[in-house]
């Protein structure tokens, strides 16, 4: 104590700051470490989120030319945008229904196949494990644009690979991208190819986390394979289910690049390939109805939060 007082007295001004720093840096440094994150959060997330909320009650009346300073002329419209979206806008409804259908396809078709694949890959003596891991992850890291282009070829009416395969099986080919009724199945097939293997790797990681001795103990107690699977394996996979289902649902409503490319910057025949984020993009950046687009964004957020909340609740009930 007296030693410190002495040093400060000896070096009054120039070293005071350095001294303070050497004593307090451990307290201050976490804030410095967090600064880039906090600044980025404030400027590029919190502020725009607030601005979007404000915009969602406005209508764009016009644009100020760059010579006069640039900017947008707004008019307050209260809840008009939301009301219109929820009651009158048929395209928005179509987009939500399409998102829901794709989500349903993801949960009901993709997840069971992914889990099945994971179980196969986790079984002892299975070959091709390394190859399968590699193959199943590859579509996920491939750009959605590249995937879109490949599947424009595969889904072609006359010269497409998929219809050729159907013909070889003695079935009639269909207009995957031109017939309104087959657009959703086509997108679900594309989704299956892109995300099924990826999800199976999550299930596989979960399966490898199930303690072997627990399964063994159950078996010694006389439980058969199905019971062991149902009462031990599945409960252990719970967090993986939560993750896979929630990310799958959010992804379904946010689908953009693949349909945008498949339908040539459009929404497909009769809007069959229209999704909420796509609609937001069309409204905000092609029609410049930025208030309306912001309202779409907030409704989308509400839907996603609702679904996530419901999922978490459902999975919590399951635990009991």
């Amino acid at each position: 104590m007296s030693a410190r007082a002495l040093t400060t007295a000896d070096n009054p001004q120039p070293f005071a700051l350095a001294d303070w720093w050497s004593r307090n840096q451990r307290k201050v440094i976490p804030y410095i470490f967090l600064a880039p994150f906090l600044v980025s959060l404030l400027v590029f997330t919190v502020y725009p989120a607030g601005a979007a909320f404000f915009l969602s009650f406005q209508r764009v009346r016009g644009f100020i030319s760059p010579e006069e300073g640039g900017g947008v002329v707004l008019e307050y419209k209260g809840l008009d945008n939301y009301e219109r979206l929820l009651t009158k806008d048929k395209r928005f409804r179509t987009a939500i229904i399409n998102g829901a259908e794709f989500a349903l396809g993801t949960v009901l078709i993709q997840m069971p196949i992914a889990l099945g694949m994971a179980l196969l890959m986790n079984a002892p003596h299975i070959r091709f494990k390394v190859l399968a891991r590699l193959a199943f992850f590859a579509p996920y890291i491939t750009s959605a644009i590249v995937v879109g282009w490949i599947f424009t070829l595969i889904f072609q009416d006359r010269y497409g690979l998929l219809n050729a395969a159907l013909n070889a099986l003695g079935l009639e080919g269909v207009g995957w991208l031109t017939n309104k009724a087959f657009v959703m199945p086509a997108l679900i097939i594309l989704g299956l190819w892109t995300w099924c293997g990826y999800n199976s790797l999550f299930f596989l990681a979960g399966l490898q986390n199930v303690p072997d001795d627990l399964k063994e103990a159950a078996r010694i107690d006389g439980a058969n394979t199905i019971r062991v699977f149902w009462h031990i394996t599945i409960p252990f996979l719970r967090p993986v289910f939560v993750f896979v289902v929630i990310t799958g649902l959010i992804g379904s409503f946010s689908l953009f690049s693949q349909p945008y490319l498949l339908f040539d910057s459009g929404a497909g025949p009769g809007d069959a390939g229209l999704f909420p984020v796509m609609y937001l993009f069309f409204m905000g950046f092609e029609n410049f109805r930025m208030g309306y687009a912001s309202a779409i964004g907030y409704l989308l957020t509400a839907i996603i939060l609702l679904i996530t909340g419901l999922q978490l609740l459902l999975f919590r009930l399951w635990r009991v």
Binding site: F33, L120, A123, I145, V146, W149, L153, R219, G284
Partner: protein, 284 residues
């Protein structure tokens, strides 16, 4: 002994069943591989062949002219360079900032720590798309439209990356950091010379994921980059059929060449990447 019990129970089905299971896995691998193979072979075909019957996976004749056209008639090389630069810079900065924040959460006590961590988790639930319109207006204000800052800066400190870094940095022994402090090291020195080298594998995973995400991102670059010499690969390839009057074969060539580096990196590091990605989901 134990092993035998186990095998008999799980694999009760026996050899025929094992063969069946193996072939199911193999079919899955094949179905996943076919579109990739088709992409590669299509890039070596002539346009006419892709629009003729019978449909085949392998070309009847191999041609290189799609690649000639790609390099000669489009800005493909420029896009490639733009993408490497943008993704590289965004990755370097993003990983560094995520590690800093991760270290703060893992190794320091400070006021509002729990609140800040709650903020990290909260940003995970907010869909980025809500921000598109105001972010774009902000880019206009900043004069960042048609510059790479617009792609690099917003969202550079990803919450998921902070989360991952925090988990790995927690495993760095406190004693090591304390010993360095006694030796007079500064906190930044400790971060650079002790924490970063010890979490190198995690840095690799976060770096690759950030790089791949930026490399493949489409919607945001589409909104902020309008000049076709500024394009990144994703927008360039998506719009290749328009202004350049390019055939689908050349688009497949571009697709193949733009996917190649990502696939190679993934093949080299697949174990770490998959572990890094799936770790969070298992723990819930």
């Amino acid at each position: 002994m134990h092993l035998k019990v186990k095998r008999a129970n799980i694999m009760g089905p026996g050899r025929v069943n094992l063969m069946f299971m193996n072939s199911v896995v193999l079919i899955g691998v094949l179905l996943t591989a076919i579109p990739f193979i088709y992409m590669i072979t299509a890039s070596f075909r002539q346009q006419g062949e892709l629009y003729s019957l019978p449909v085949t996976i392998m070309p009847r004749e191999w041609h290189g002219h799609n690649y000639v056209k790609l390099f000669g008639d489009t800005h493909f090389v420029i896009w490639y360079g733009n993408t490497i630069f943008t993704a590289g810079l965004r990755t370097a900065l993003g990983v560094y900032f995520a590690a800093l924040a991760g270290a703060a959460f893992a190794k320091y006590e400070f006021r509002f720590k729990r609140f800040f961590f709650f903020l990290v988790l909260a940003t995970l639930t907010l869909p980025f798309q809500v921000l598109l319109v105001p972010l774009f207006l902000m880019m206009v204000d900043f004069g960042w439209v048609d510059t790479y800052w617009a792609v690099i800066v917003p969202g550079i400190v990803a919450a998921f990356n902070i989360f991952l870094m925090r988990q790995y940095i927690e495993a760095v022994p406190d004693e090591l950091m304390d010993a360095a402090r006694i030796d007079g090291a500064s906190e930044f020195g400790i971060f650079h010379r002790i924490i970063l080298p010890l979490v190198r594998p995690a840095l690799g995973v976060v770096a690759i994921l950030t790089f791949v995400n930026t490399w493949n991102d489409f919607l945001w670059p589409l909104i902020v980059l309008h000049d076709d010499t500024k394009y990144l690969l994703s927008i360039g390839i998506a719009t290749m059929d328009g202004p350049y009057d390019v055939e689908i074969g050349a688009i497949m060539a571009a697709s193949f060449l733009s996917t190649l580096p990502i696939l190679i990196v993934f093949i080299l590091m697949q174990r770490q990447i998959i572990a890094g990605l799936t770790q969070g989901a298992i723990r819930g």
